[in-house]
Amino acid sequence: MIVTFDIIILVFLVLAAIIALSVKDLLAAAMVFGIYGFLICLLWAEMGAVDVAFTEATVGAGVSTVLIVATVLNTRRRSTD
């Protein structure tokens, strides 16, 4: 556990969450959500939770993003909010 690293990732995490929820292009939102997943994976690794980090890297940053992208491509890309 390294506190500086911890704080930096946490700040980026909040930023990524806000961006993912505020962009109007859903494909971009899905991508930023992938970034969010990857950042949180880094955070787990930094906190010593390696198994959780591994799972988050495969599930959170990988499969979840792919599923959202699949849905967005099959529906509509623009959103009003």
Binding site: V14, T55, R76, S79
Partner: protein, 148 residues
Amino acid sequence: MQAFFQEAVIPHFNFWIYVVIMMIGLWSVIAKNNLVKKLIGLSIFQTAILLLYVSLGVKEDATIPVVESGVLAAYKETSATTDKKAAPAIHPDRYANPTPHVLMLTAIVVGVATLGVALALTQMIYKDFGTLEEDEVLQKIKALHEDV
């Protein structure tokens, strides 16, 4: 003010941020109109809870919860001489707490399962109503109701 920061914010920094992330997620679940946006918010909401749990298992100066081979060798030596129930040689503060990690593995998997089902529902709603915006879906349902 500085005392407050010293006592309440700095040692609990992770816990403050987890509340912030959780509230961002919760706000978008309720307020966002687009169904996919709602689901992204829901996922962020769930990861905030993971952040709480994993932060609980952190110990200062501890390593990852995998026992190293050197420690294992020492452990074998002590346990060979004494009986099985004797005090173990592995120091508990040396490793991060594994319990929250196990719980959160479960929660991550539950999260992706929920997301998958929700996306399937979103696609069906789009197929039936031709839109992903919640207010438009509700309007069309109302129209459907009045037709009958």
